[in-house]
């Protein structure tokens, strides 16, 4: 064990330094794969939108590889708006190997949440609602005993709207509920 540096809250005043406009779009490099949008809202224990949260995602590319390439970095960052809403444009990740020989994880995206009031950032995962069979076999999801906690990690696919019908990428909704009855499951990694 060594002497690690401790976490402190990101605080309320970071947007002017950490907001990088294009970082919520992972598709700019022209990566192959199915284009998708992840949309959601960060809400507090009163159900109010959290206007000062920052979210970061890390994901495999469409083939399930985490090795960065010139067309896909796998990393994104978004800030919430005044109503707590955020959005990422990316490609659907492939299934990822492990943990351990012979195991495969369902396609998922690691999501990290920073905000005033969080002394340590929160870590969770976004799984895809239209991949029920993969999700049912996922070693992380199946290790969670509480069905509500498990369900909080699965982003439902929004019903197609007029725009979706005309070839817009599918939209998955993932709300981050910091506290309360429908609290999102967070991980100690």
């Amino acid at each position: 064990m060594s002497n690690l540096t401790s976490s402190q809250t990101v605080g309320p005043f970071f947007k002017f330094a950490l907001n990088r406009e294009s970082w919520n779009d992972l598709t700019a490099g022209g990566a192959p794969g199915e284009r998708i949008r992840i949309v959601g809202r960060v809400v507090d224990g009163d159900g109010a939108g959290v206007p000062d949260a920052m979210l970061e995602i890390w994901q495999a590319d469409a083939s399930g590889s985490y090795t960065p390439s010139s067309d896909f970095r796998g990393f994104g960052r978004a800030n919430t708006d005044d109503d707590g809403r955020f959005e990422f444009h990316t490609v659907r990740p492939g299934a990822v190997a492990g943990p351990g020989p012979g195991l495969v994880q369902a396609p998922h995206i690691a999501l990290t949440v920073f905000a005033r009031g969080l002394l340590h950032h929160l870590i969770t995962r976004v799984y895809f609602g239209d991949r029920a069979d993969d999700n049912a076999r996922d070693p992380v999801l199946t290790s969670i005993a509480d069905p509500a906690a498990r369900a909080s990690l699965i982003a439902p696919r929004e019903p197609p709207s007029g725009a979706a019908a005309s070839g817009e990428p599918p939209v998955f909704r993932f709300d981050v509920i910091l506290q309360g009855e429908r609290e999102t499951a967070f991980f100690d990694v």
């Binding site: 690690l4 540096t5 401790s6 809250t9 960065p68 195991l103 009031g117 002394l119 950032h121």
Partner: protein, 235 residues
């Protein structure tokens, strides 16, 4: 069935703050009430983004010359190394920092503190560590500022740091403090870290070797991130 394997070293008890810390008022509606679920480290946690010199570009390690003139305040050099727990340097990792100006005011629309903004000081910078993990910023000593956590509460002077490291599990956002600050003993954010030694490691050290004669004071701050364990199993 999976077994809990620690591909990435874990913090020792008391080294990291928990989110349930009522003395910090903003936790009341935002800290999760359920304990975080321990999961095995998989490739997802044991890998992380890489940054190049192209993004974000360009490096802004001198915060004193953002505007047409020089920023007001005490010039300081903040330098250190980013390391993993075993002492291995973390080279080419992205370090972002941000801070209030010398008067204790942020360039942020929501900061309503009645203290002057400095047109020559933005208070934001970033750089990549060199191949040996070194970084160096030239900036201004930030001022303390009041906040509404409790009556007449003041944050000790601090600089925020965001560091990536080699894996998602190593990701760190923290705050660096200054030696001898009487506000530290009263600050709930600083005191949210249970372990006293761990708290004190967030206080930078005045380093006369780093100071530049007749120009700037030097403060040293090393950042130690979670590294890979020697034999990561099960990935």
């Amino acid at each position: 069935m999976t077994t809990l394997t620690d591909a990435i070293e874990r913090p020792r008890p008391g080294e990291q703050p928990g989110n349930d810390f009522p003395a910090y008022t903003s936790t009341h509606k935002r800290a999760p009430k359920r304990p975080a679920l321990a999961i095995a480290h998989t490739l997802t946690e044991a890998t992380g983004p890489a940054f190049g010199l192209d993004s974000p570009a360009p490096s802004t390690a001198d915060l004193t010359r953002h505007g047409a003139g020089e920023a007001l305040g005490q010039r300081i050099i903040v330098a250190g190394r980013v390391l993993e727990g075993d002492g291995r340097p973390v080279g080419n990792t992205l370090l972002e920092l941000w801070q209030a100006n010398a008067a204790g005011r942020y360039v942020h629309e929501a900061d309503q503190h009645d203290a002057p903004l400095d047109p020559n000081f933005l208070g934001a910078g970033h750089t990549l560590t060199d191949s040996d993990g070194n970084f160096r910023f030239l900036t201004i000593l930030p001022g303390a500022y009041p906040w509404r956590n409790s009556y007449n509460a003041w944050r000790p002077a601090h600089i925020h740091f965001s560091v990536f490291g080699r894996s998602v599990a190593a990701r760190l956002v923290t705050q660096m403090y200054f030696p001898g600050d009487p506000l530290l003993a009263l600050d709930p954010i600083y005191n949210s870290i249970p372990d006293r030694d761990a708290r004190e490691r967030l206080i930078s050290r005045y380093d006369p070797e780093l100071s530049e004669a007749e120009y700037a004071l030097g403060y040293r701050f090393d950042i130690v991130l979670r590294g890979r364990n020697a034999t990561p199993l099960g990935l």
